[in-house]
């Protein structure tokens, strides 16, 4: 029992009195709408009282920061010891443009880099592939060979700055390029730090940049985990992601459940396939969540995530090292909450979402720019987004104390509720035989599609509101400066690529590709061979084509 009997009794009585008054008030002053719910349509009560958390056990369920179940945070000193990393996701055009934007961001106070790649790179195609018509450099940076990558990292101190790369099917290739670039720049692999997203399960569920089928995809991921554990100890080799699952239309509960279950699948695979013990690699697992517009739902979701993962690692996997129990995550404010109409409103949305992420205890944060519904962010827009984080950290006082909302009847009750519902999903997927089996059955995909459709219908019936879009709509056009990617950039990139192909030692390149093929066939770790291949200027499509050849290409099952 959380509260004393005396408090409970008093709470019960006062609440009942209040309830009567409410009934009376409603007769003459009814509620504005029938139902008040979160953006995920989770119903919220009018009032939360001690009754709502009466079964909470302080030691087991809440505790203190730095102690199991880590509800209140992994670190004992929280943000007082160091703010979250201001990590702005950026990439555009060619390596040169991106390098310039990165250096501007570092000047303005970002404390970590994050790479946005273009679609050809994300999908494992070279810039001159016929499939890439019109795509080169448009929504991120085009990287074909190690030469591009070296240009990208020009003048960036790789031993001082950590870099995150949002890359999935070709993650082995891009990480190989990063490692090769570090070596060339004289930085040993033991000193480099960063993250590769490298989470294929969520691709099958939500983001759909896929290449090989689920089984082999997970094998490649396990390769990176093993390589990182042995040789690149400061690197997070997976960022188990919920962001994209949420963007595809999932509810907060679904985002949480599917992400954690993906994590479970990866841990199981590494243990089974590589024979590593959980404590050897779990401390380097990281997560990536969405921070959506419903302020409290997000805070509660993130707290629940920490508590759930700690339990999963300790109970399900028997981890002993406290660091294995820590859920470390990066957060991005929700792209799908932004509107194209009245774009300046997006600044407010991003601010609220960023604040929720911080009060939820994120380790790292990206804030969206106001114009991202329309194009890649302009310099002015990205500056505002960065300043948002800095103002939160320096001015608002949210960093003064750790997990400020703990103990709130509402927040603890909602955290419990979200956790409970997420467990239901996890058990269901366990019953289906695991996440890969569930994906084959189409379960998470259908859940998300249903939620997405439901939300769209709610928007159109005005049950849910997006200001500027279905309420407070104006005809006035706010024209904001939009970033344009010069078409010439694509052409120049293709020329560079063709130059590299011409001047490299093609025999050495071919041999290193064959070595990768053999590693794939034998089941050995591909990473050392990838690093060799990128040094021999193999293009990233050439390496990915090896994977496609050996493992086959995944086909979208087309579920509705």
């Amino acid at each position: 029992m959380y509260f004393s009997e005396k408090t409970q009794k008093a709470s019960g009585e006062l609440t009942r009195k209040w309830q009567d008054k409410v009934e009376n008030t409603l007769k003459t002053n009814p509620d504005q709408k029938e139902r008040f719910s979160t953006v995920s349509d989770l119903e919220i009560k009018r009032l939360y009282t001690p009754e709502d958390i009466k079964d909470t056990n302080f030691e087991q369920h809440i505790g203190v920061p730095g102690e199991f179940p880590y509800l209140r945070g992994n670190q004992v000193t929280g943000y007082r010891g160091g703010y979250w990393t201001f990590r702005m996701f950026a990439g555009m055009g060619s390596a040169k443009e991106t390098n310039e934007r990165w250096r501007m961001l570092l000047r303005e106070g970002t404390t970590g880099l994050s790479t946005a790649f273009d679609f050809p790179t994300l999908m494992g195609y070279d810039s001159d592939s016929p499939k890439c018509l019109g795509e080169v450099g448009k929504c991120g940076v085009a990287i074909d060979t190690l030469e591009d990558f070296l240009a990208l990292m020009k003048d960036i101190p790789m031993d001082q700055v950590t870099t995150s790369m949002t890359i999935n099917p070709p993650a082995t290739v891009l990480w190989a390029m990063y490692c090769a670039a570090a070596e060339i720049n004289g930085v040993p692999l033991t000193k480099i730090g960063g993250t590769i997203q490298n989470d294929m399960l969520k691709e099958f569920i939500a983001q759909k940049t896929f290449m090989c089928p689920p089984g082999p995809s997970v094998k490649l991921i396990s390769d990176t985990v093993e390589f990182g554990t042995k040789y690149v100890p400061r690197w997070n080799t997976i960022s188990i992601s919920g962001y994209h699952i949420r963007e595809a239309g999932a509810t907060a509960v679904q985002e949480l459940a599917f992400t954690l279950r993906d994590g479970i699948e990866y841990v199981e695979d590494v243990v089974r396939r590589k024979g590593l013990s959980v404590d050897e690699f779990a401390p380097r697992l990281s997560f990536f969540f969405n921070s959506h517009i419903d302020f409290f739902e997000e805070i509660c979701k993130l707290r629940a995530a920490r508590r759930m993962w700690a339990k999963i690692m300790r109970v399900r996997f028997g981890a002993k090292n406290p660091r294995s129990l820590w859920m470390r995550f990066h957060t991005q404010t929700a792209g799908c909450s932004l509107t194209a109409q009245q774009p300046y409103n997006n600044i407010i949305r991003t601010t609220v979402e960023a604040m929720a992420a911080v009060m939820g205890g994120t380790q790292s944060l990206h804030t969206n720019s106001l114009d991202e519904v329309l194009c890649l962010p302009s310099e002015q827009a990205v500056e505002i987004a960065l300043r948002t984080q800095q103002i939160l950290a320096e001015e608002t006082g949210v960093v003064n104390t750790t997990d400020p909302l703990a103990g709130s009847y509402f927040v603890e009750a909602l955290t419990n509720e979200i956790e409970e519902k997420a467990w239901e999903y996890i058990e269901k997927i366990d019953g289906m035989g695991g996440m890969i089996a569930a994906i084959e059955k189409g379960f998470p995909q259908m859940e998300i599609a249903d939620s997405a459709y439901k939300y769209q219908r709610q928007l159109e019936s005005k049950e849910k509101i997006m200001v500027g879009m279905n309420k407070y709509v104006t005809d006035a056009r706010h024209s904001i400066p939009l970033l344009e990617i010069d078409e010439k950039i694509g052409e120049e990139q293709i020329k560079r690529l063709q130059d590299v192909r011409r001047k490299r030692d093609n025999r050495a390149t071919k041999k290193s590709l064959d070595d990768i093929k053999n590693a794939c066939k034998k089941g050995t770790n591909v990473m050392p061979f990838c690093i060799e291949a990128v040094k021999n200027l193999a293009t990233q499509q050439e390496i990915c084509d090896v994977y496609r050849e050996v493992y086959g290409e995944y086909r979208d099952p087309g579920l509705f």
């Binding site: 890439c132 018509l133 019109g134 795509e135 990617i485 087309g558």
Partner: protein, 134 residues
């Protein structure tokens, strides 16, 4: 004469795999009484055009969020024209800045629906503007 069913194809040309909108549209069109063929993601313009002709659709909706619409959408229209299928109406949606609208209209795209367009408005547009054959 019995009423003709409207046949619509929703296609995602290019490498962009963000299909939340495309799938919502497919469901919405089904609920509006249309027959919807969904091509899936990662389609080349050639595949999209071939499919549209095989399925004898009245309307082809192209969705692209990666910024490649400038090349991909006109290419699809051109391919349909080459195969003598210009009677198929082509509309577009996704992340498309207003500055590109004129160029797309000139290339033969009949309407563009960007974020914020309601499903009902799209269905309305189709009912008003799409005439089935005969």
């Amino acid at each position: 004469m019995p009423e003709r069913k409207i046949r619509v194809m929703v296609a995602k040309p290019g490498l962009d795999g963000h299909d939340r909108g495309a799938r919502i549209l497919a469901r919405c069109f089904r609920d509006a009484g249309f027959e919807v063929i969904y091509t899936g993601c990662h389609q080349t313009p050639e595949q999209v055009a071939a499919a549209a002709i095989q399925e004898d659709v009245d309307l082809l909706g192209l969705s692209c969020l990666s910024g490649a619409h400038r090349e991909l959408f006109p290419r699809v229209v051109e391919l349909l024209r080459q195969k003598d299928a210009s009677d198929i109406t082509v509309i577009g949606g996704g992340i498309i800045p207003e500055a590109d609208f004129t160029m797309l209209y000139d290339a033969g795209i009949k309407a563009i629906f960007t974020p914020g367009a309601t499903l009902d408005s799209i269905v309305e547009w189709i009912r008003t503007n799409i005439k089935t054959r005969d």
